[in-house]
Amino acid sequence: MKELIMAKYGEIALKGLNKGTFEDILVKNIKRRLRHCGKFQYMRKQSTIYIEPVGEADLDEVMEKLKVIFGIGALQRCAVFEKDFEQIKDKGVPYLEEALQFATTFKVEAKRSDKAFPMKTPDIQMELGGAILEAYPHLKVDVHNPEVTVTCEIRDKGAYLSAERIIGAGGMPVGSSGKCLLLLSGGIDSPVAGYMMAKRGLIVDGIHFVSPPYTSERALMKVETLCEKLTPYCGDIRFFCVPFTEIQEALRDNCPEEFFTIIMRRLMVKIANKIADAYEYGALVTGESVGQVASQTLKAIQCTDAAAEYPVFRPVIGMDKKEIIEISRKIDTFETSTLPYEDCCTVFTPKHPKTKPVLEEIIKAEQSYDFEPLIEKAIKDIEIKMFRVEGTTEMVEKAEN
């Protein structure tokens, strides 16, 4: 008996003539994630990718990996039979034992896309259901609220029987929408923001600012751990670590205290602009949510946006902290995010930050000191790491620009 996994498209199924491009990217992403799980044969048909192991493979592990790949709407692990009902019944019913042994209710759902198959859909459902009841007398049929739904699909290439169907990660395949640069602080919100943009098909790379000795080695390690935790969703993450101490000290010494945070954020955005120029990012992403802190008021956002040369995406802008935390727990970044290490954002926090800054005033204060040479220096001293899907990390040489 052959077992395989069907990965059914989410949104891609709705695409028109360019559907093929999206499919290519999705298949490429899947192949990359499964590289260390064994050998597989891939086939695309009827808005489904058939992933069939060639030789040994742990399908439980494969399901776990596929579950978090964006672009997949649903996953079904199934046994393949010839399109002969007697065979489906004889071999298929024992195959279902694992899924049915602890259940009390079930139903059978049949789909017949190959209309040449002699039985009609309701007949398949009834016959197969009867056979299951006979084999597993502890079960009852419940068509409204079954614990297990057994599906039997009669498709072009064969009959597929399954009792394990899970919802996929949804969204668009990562890499199908372009590249963005995520400003990662180490808090709860920014990893969630990165996850959400990856869901829409963007390649997400990270930029982080460090201010030793104001911030510790552990604060950086924490952000790197967050990158590692995001790779199953986002794929490889390029990580830019910007030395920010001198800029922050210059800011402290030359600008009014109440503007610290806003100007600091503007300077971060300016550095991100330059990285985006050099590495061709199409957007910046932040984890800001309106009203959460002083730098996230409308006026403050207007001031930081004015420094940006790219669109700034803020996918959690309208979410409550509770909702953001819920996602961060789901993607397992919450516990890392809440480790108590000081990050560069809180180093020189003013006692009374301006909540309604006026852009002209901010620009004037910012211009009282020439940050440009320090920005250039910081960019020159950036360290770049690559966090790979496979769980490895490597230092990367800077691109010449």
Binding site: P212, P213, T215, S216, E217, E249, P340, E342
Partner: protein, 367 residues
């Protein structure tokens, strides 16, 4: 590297490393085994016991544990349980390590009456102050010999005498982690740790005076007279013994380093020493506050210069430690505290380098 965080942990000395390796290679037997290899291990265990008791200059029993946290947990819970019929009151101090303080919190929930006394309320006569609070209902006093954050020292022998004069059946537990090998220790129960005196992490001991009981925390194979089950970690115990033997008895080097650092600090503006003077403190720990510079910033700055010290208090991480307050150190001062703790390997030159770097740090960071 200049390592000045010896109250946190120490580098295992060569003698300890060699003893551990030798034991692991040649004498790895299970103390409970009936054969020769087991007997050899038992001999090592007894020898370590005697060496440590000799160092303490005390007679009684010694049980090896996984460290002082286990010792403190075992003694506090075990003594409370064994003597609960005599009374319900336990006296402790506000300067204790969390492995004593948190257990006291739990005992409080279990219905014990916990009294927490602060040295600030009678800094110079703290022993008398503690003894004053003893009633017939008091079953246990738990007091550390040397405070880990500022080096404040309690005369445990004096405390012991005062307690017994008030209530013969009241027990004294001394957390001797920072005091061991540095000052005299006395009590009915004493907790010890190896890694503070150049032994390994993961091994400690509890001293128990003759006739003093406690209910064990761990149950199992009945090792160590049924009071601490679990196979004795003979390799690290042998290293513990070697470290005790190797620990110098002449501690005047600490005094030299201490007074050098004090004199350098006294030249700096708005730098205050938190540690007590020599009569109330140990010389190997010196805590001070560099006003206007948060501990963590100075700590990470020194770290960049490969100088390792401690921030001495966990205030800035949102956890408010009650320890600085128990000495009357206010929040602002606690927030800019640095703790320097010496080993015999530290030199005067290193202390001068530290002081120079602190001066640079002040220039750069003071606000």
């Amino acid at each position: 590297m200049i390592y000045l965080d010896n109250a946190a942990t120490t580098r295992p000395c060569d003698e300890a490393v060699e003893a551990a390796v030798k034991t692991a290679r040649e004498c790895f037997g299970n103390v409970s085994s009936l054969h020769k290899l087991g007997i050899e291990s038992e001999k090592l265990l007894n020898s370590a016991k005697n060496t440590i008791l000799k160092k303490l200059s005390l007679q009684g029993e010694l049980y090896f544990t996984s460290g002082a946290t286990e010792s403190n947990n075992t003694i506090l819970r075990g003594v409370a349980d064994a003597y609960k019929r005599n009374g319900k009151t336990i006296i402790t101090t506000a300067m204790e390590h969390p492995s004593v303080a948190r257990v006291c919190d739990l005992l409080e929930k279990d219905g014990f009456n916990i009294i927490r006394l602060s040295p600030k309320d009678d800094y110079n006569n703290f022993e008398e102050y503690v003894a004053e609070h003893i009633t017939p209902d008091t079953i246990l006093v738990s007091c550390m010999a040397v405070n880990n954050e500022i080096g404040y020292k309690v005369d445990t022998k004096k405390l012991y005498a005062l307690i017994k004069r008030k209530n013969k059946s009241c027990m004294l537990h001394v957390d001797g982690v920072q005091g061991f090998c540095k000052t005299a220790l006395y009590g009915d129960y004493i907790s010890l740790s190896a890694h503070k005196i150049h032994g390994f992490k993961g091994v400690g001991a509890m001293y128990v005076a003759k006739g003093c009981r406690f209910t064990p925390l761990l149950y199992g194979g009945g090792q160590q007279k049924n009071l601490r089950s679990g196979t004795e970690q003979i390799e690290t115990i042998a290293a513990f013994e070697a470290a005790v033997k190797a620990y110098p008895t002449d501690l005047s080097h600490y005094e030299k380093l201490n007074s050098l650092l004090r004199s350098r600090l006294s030249e700096m503006e708005e730098v205050y020493v938190n540690s007590p003077d020599a009569d109330r403190g140990v010389p190997n720990i010196l805590s001070f506050s560099v006003m206007g510079v948060r501990s963590e910033i100075m700590l990470h700055y020194l770290e960049e210069k490969q100088i390792y010290v401690s921030s001495g208090s966990a205030c800035s991480k949102g956890k408010i430690s009650s320890v600085p307050d128990s000495f009357g150190i206010d929040e602002k001062r606690a927030d800019s505290t640095l703790r320097v703790s010496f080993s015999m390997a530290n030199t005067q030159e290193e202390i001068n380098t530290l002081a120079d770097e602190i001066l640079f740090g002040i220039k750069r960071f003071r606000r």
